[in-house]
Symmetry: C2
């Protein structure tokens, strides 16, 4: 007979169905192990908001009920896997956090930036050290991705083993000579795997993601041809890519310089950890570039996504103090636009082309390869791990469905692949797995500067303000008669002149009617609500517009 | 000696460097010929705005100076080539407008919808009829694209011939059996061509855009397999594509129905013009589908771009009265996301997949081919037309640059290809061509409902409102003393609770200080400005935020 307590709950708090905000709960009895703690990025509907974080109310309730977080493991140093740490950690009790060396450095740096005192522990990657965290034990497995030190995690639990296969590809020739550790994957998988959680972002792509290797030659050849400055932009954390450019620059005797705060921060970490090795005298400060001929210069510049205030956007708009571009210069986008950034990246490319620069980007030149494996690599992992069940993670729902098709083509049944929503518990027992409870998870918005959560009604207000503007109405009421003392003041912003004029007229006449017709009351709050409601309805009937109404009633 | 008056000015009012809003001026002495009059589509920075239209102030000035518009020619029935007619025509004197049959019908329909009385004339396409418009004469040339009846235009002017090669591809096997009329292109080109204006959107793509032909079999095979309803979404104007689906549906004895206003409108035009032929009894109204088994039904549904209020989005959200989806149904996206729509299209695909539908889209199945030619087709047109000069149109600046590379690879010099900005005059004489004046062109925003222009300061207000909210301040001043009569009322919207509380406190104390310290004046307007300025500066210093301030000063 099965003990009902002998079960493991796996709950993706977020990260299934929307690529980012990765955070996963493994819970056995009253012990919880967490994996990742990532940010999401705002889209155009989230006005004035930059970031989303996972909703941890499930964890907060669990703690109230006496459950304990025994630890957290971080798979790699990308924002969507560890960027929410400074916002989440202060809301939870202390627990140990583990990550491989670079990931830990990047996470610690982030916590320091936000003034959160919490040391992320570092586990040596090369050994077969096994972490013990309550009833769980865990081992990191080295995989290739677009940031070095990326890991998968083999998690042993009382009901069986889980393979947490976050973002990866299987590049046989990564620049740092550290390929995916297939031997370790297969050795551990022999113990049996209850469930494989797998990256699925590349599930729609046939074949294999190309190796990073040919990029080294590409950079060398283009740099050799370059008549002016050679500028490279990529994700700041892609240290292997930076090393490929560095190698070419060194061979050609160029000087290098870094532009942009995020990039400089990452380079400081990378230098300290000896992940990059820049010969003495090769690196110069950006304000020293005037001392060199432009064809002696290779610049790494942050801002590959066309972000508004990034170094590259400022350079393209000729607003950067030190870097001015001419028709001789070359700019290489060694990155692809993240979905949603297509227009800003295209605008940036166009601006650089208008300056006459030679601009190379992935649709016209081999400037970039993805950090995510394509379908053959996803299948290879599936075949190495041989799981009973699967859970595709880190993709849109369409990627999860495409992953399930791959699994079905490889002999699995449809029901072996879970496609849950965020907050959906999956219950594993020694006998099998089933869907459990659906916990309620909200979208949690964070203001990047203050770190404060922004409630969704604030966003709804902003949405209305951004579409239909605002109407402030000040009605002065005679205390004795309850009538308007004079024509109400009406201020309209965010609407066209014609709309503004009509709204003022309509509002004034409506209010005059209202305060003559109705029996008035001296309850100013009531009157205020009344004014707001009446005008809102009237404007919607007339214009199909819903400006935000700010009614103020004053007794004079 | 060259008469300085013997020159032709070509001015792209818009349509170079941003794909949409196509509108071109050909001007000889005091006669102006216009080509196209297209809309642009708003991006996320244009809050509450749906549309952009070309800036016609150049034309309005020209008319004041006694110049005359002798006519307008429309290349094809897409919104970005004719959608601005209802907004532009009422602002200009009357002139004749010509287009091929379907284009003319679609344009007339648009004008009727907006209540603009202006009959677009129809020129029979098949004949070699030559239009005479002042000093210009023009012939339409049939080309293939994603809407039938698309034309290029051969324009004869006193200084030589122009080939206006708007959107096209060279599909040898279009569904309607009407391929690009290469014979006519070559015959006309023999007269010599001063300048080729050419579609350049596909210039980054190698080879040839695949034919539409295999799609017919694809639809048939998928429809045959379908266990439930078979739903197809595409651009409403893609009548050939709809015919391919109809053919499959007819072979399989299915009933068809159309969902979405834009689609029904286009189908009405297409039926009237005998461009589609639906056998009696095959088409049913959408409220009749309950009478049929779901696998008897093929539905054409509008909303391939994931537009918020489109039929397909409502169906996916289970908000459509007549159409409910189940796991047996198939939905085919026979279209690609327009840049900027990637997220809304992905969200829509995910919603449909969550309902369990079988969703087919272009990254996993051959559901769509582009209407724009790839580089080989662009080169083929170049070689048929043999122009002296070239002007790539209808692309981003990066596509224009890619087009210039194609021209250079085909024996042209860099300076033979103009890459102007919007409003840049190019002056052609019998001796050559040079850049002329740069006319000032603004972005003109239009409210889709009212048709009214929206000034850019309105957008700036909305931008601020959407990021940082609004603060209304009501200061009541004692008439005699000029001091605050009571604590000012402060209303904050669009900011978080903590921000709101602090802003109210800061504003109240700042105002109390202000009206004690300063010598006051009874000029309420002056006081109002003063309050606004003071609070704005204070909040920005303290929060780095710039809510829109609405200050009101009232004397009591």
């Amino acid at each position: 007979m099965i003990n009902s307590a002998n079960q493991l709950s796996l709950i993706p708090l977020s990260g299934v169905g929307d690529v980012t905000r990765n955070m996963y709960v493994y819970q056995y009895q009253n012990q919880i192990l967490l994996v990742d703690c990532g940010l999401g990025f705002a889209d155009e509907t989230m006005l004035g908001i930059d970031l989303l974080i996972p909703d941890i109310s499930y964890l907060q309730n669990a703690i109230k009920q006496g459950k304990k977080i025994v630890g957290m493991l971080i798979t790699h140093g990308h924002e969507d896997h560890m960027g929410a740490l400074p916002f989440i950690l202060p809301q939870l009790p202390d627990f140990p956090i583990y990550a491989t060396p670079l990931t830990a450095e990047l996470a610690n740096g982030k916590l320091q930036d936000f003034g959160v005192a919490k040391k992320v522990e570092i586990v040596p990657l090369e050994s077969d050290h096994e972490l013990h965290l309550g009833v769980f034990s865990a081992q990191f497995i080295r995989v290739t991705h677009s940031v070095v030190d990326t890991s998968h995690i083999f998690i042993r639990t009382p009901i069986g083993n889980f393979y947490h296969g976050s973002d990866f590809k299987i590049d046989p020739n990564p620049y740092d000579g550290k390929p995916t550790d297939k031997a370790k994957i297969m050795r551990l998988a022999k113990m049996g795997v209850v469930c494989l959680l797998s990256d699925c972002l590349g599930a729609e792509k046939k074949g294999t993601t190309p190796s990073e290797q040919p990029l080294t030659d590409f950079f060398y050849e283009e740099m050799k041809k370059a008549q002016g400055k050679f500028i490279v932009t990529t994700y700041s954390s892609n240290i292997n890519r930076l090393n490929q450019v560095l190698t070419a620059a060194q061979k050609l005797g160029k000087r290098i310089s870094f532009v942009g705060r995020s990039l400089i921060n990452t380079m400081d970490v990378a230098k300290e950890m000896k992940l990059v090795n820049i010969p003495k005298g090769m690196e110069i400060r950006i304000d020293q570039i005037k001392q060199y001929k432009s064809n002696q210069l290779v610049l790494f510049v942050a801002g590959s996504q066309g972000q508004e205030n990034s170094a590259l956007t400022r350079i393209a708009n000729n607003e950067h103090r030190d870097v001015k571009l001419s028709g001789l210069d070359t700019v290489v986008f060694s990155s692809d636009p993240i979905p949603g950034n297509e227009i800003s990246v295209n605008t940036l490319i166009d601006s650089l082309l208008r300056l006459g620069c030679n601009v190379l980007y992935s649709s016209i030149a081999p400037t970039h390869v993805s950090g995510h494996g394509s379908s053959d690599e996803l299948i290879e992992l599936m075949q190495m791990v041989k799981p009973k069940k699967m859970l595709p993670i880190g993709g849109n729902f369409k990627h999860m469905v495409a992953y399930r098709k791959l699994a079905e083509a490889n002999g699995y049944r449809k029901e072996d692949v879970f496609l849950p929503n965020d907050g959906q518990e999956i219950v594993f027992t020694q006998n099998g797995a089933r869907l459990g409870q659906q916990f309620n998870v909200r979208k949690v918005y964070v203001d990047e500067l203050s770190g404060e959560e922004v409630e969704s009604y604030v966003l709804r207000d902003r949405q209305r303000l951004s579409q239909d503007g605002v109407v402030a109405i000040i009605a002065e009421i005679e205390g004795e008669t309850g009538r308007l003392a004079q024509k109400p003041t009406v201020i309209v912003r965010g609407l066209s002149d014609t709309d503004t004029d009509t709204i003022i007229k309509v509002t004034q006449s409506e209010l005059q009617r209202m305060f003559v017709k109705k029996a008035t009351t001296n309850n100013l709050l009531y009157l205020r609500k009344q004014v707001g409601k009446t005008i809102e309805e009237r404007l919607f009937r007339k214009y199909r517009k819903r400006p935000l109404i700010l009614p103020i009633v004053i007794e004079v």
